[in-house]
């Protein structure tokens, strides 16, 4: 049961992160604008981060499916989620009126809110569990 649950969780997380990376990969200029609107990074880093982030999501998501690479993939995914959560929390405190850009770049579809923090917290917990747990013998 535990092994099946772990498999489902890993497949779910890998699919979720690959799904999340696709809009960013296809429209890097739009994603760069989303990153810029958080006003957290120096100008010189915005485009580089916008280009690198979706590929990191894909590579780490795929790593989650291979036992030897799983902990490293989970480390990246939970780290990225942690950074995104911190960015959203800071933006909420600063009162920024912006889209999350987490799963879609369509304007107005993903306004930041407390829901994003709760969801990311749950995803971090799931990623750590799926990445480091071993099925009971």
């Amino acid at each position: 049961m535990n092994a099946r649950l772990l498999l489902v969780a890993r497949l779910f997380l890998a699919g979720l992160f690959i799904y999340a990376s696709l809009p960013k990969l296809l429209a890097p200029q739009d994603f760069a604008l989303v990153v810029f609107r958080y006003h957290l990074l120096p100008d010189g880093l915005i485009n580089t981060v916008a280009l690198l982030l979706p590929w990191l999501e894909i590579c780490a998501a795929l790593a989650l499916l291979f036992p030897a690479w799983r902990p490293a993939g989970a480390l990246w995914l939970s780290g990225l989620l942690g950074l995104a959560t911190a960015a959203i929390a800071i933006s909420l405190v600063r009162g920024l009126d912006i889209d999350c850009g987490c799963f879609t770049l369509q304007p107005g579809r993903s306004h930041i809110g407390l829901w994003n923090l709760v969801r990311n917290g749950a995803l971090i917990a799931l990623t750590l569990w799926a990445g480091w747990s071993k099925p009971a013998p």
Binding site: N47, L52, I58, C59, A63, W76, G108, R109
Partner: protein, 161 residues
């Protein structure tokens, strides 16, 4: 400690693979995204630096639906006639001083005002918002996404006949 080294090595390998892939794909794009963008000149950067509040699309959608704010289109009148945000009024930036002085536009000083222009790279909306704030309309905010972002979000556009 022994277990940490392979973990960090694999994490570094993932980063390296992602970096190579993103550089290769960006190089293959018809219009590659430059690694360093000119964001300091972006209209939203200038607005924040000037202490102006920015409005997001979700809040704009609520404002349009409720009619709670005056929405001012800073583009030339011909562009306004071709299509504008529902309920918006035309106040081209170049004519703002003249139109306000001649009382052709009934604006209250404490009224909630939203300005916009065509896209996120135009600056008439910003200039109009700054002008209004300078002249005492302190409750002015900028919707920097412009008509293009409004359309992309599926927003309706009114056309003057």
């Amino acid at each position: 400690m022994k277990a940490l080294f392979p973990l960090l090595l694999r994490a570094a390998a993932i980063l390296l693979f992602a970096a190579v892939s993103c550089a290769a794909l960006n190089w293959l794009r018809r219009e590659p995204l430059p690694l360093r963008g000119e964001w300091s000149k972006h209209v939203e950067h200038r607005a924040l630096k000037a202490g102006l509040n920015l409005l997001g699309i979700s809040t704009l959608q609520q404002a349009v639906a409720s009619g709670s704010s005056r929405i001012l289109d800073a583009r030339p009148t011909a562009d306004f006639r071709a299509g504008h945000l529902p309920g918006a009024q035309s106040l081209p930036f170049e004519l703002a001083a003249e139109l306000l002085a001649s009382m052709q536009l009934d604006l209250q000083r404490d009224q909630s005002i939203i300005t916009y222009c065509a896209r996120n790279d135009c600056d008439e909306g910003l200039e109009l918002a700054l002008f209004l704030r300078r002249t005492g309309y302190t409750n002015t905010v900028l919707y920097a996404g412009g008509l293009a972002e409004w359309r992309a979000a599926g927003g309706k556009v009114e056309v003057e006949r």
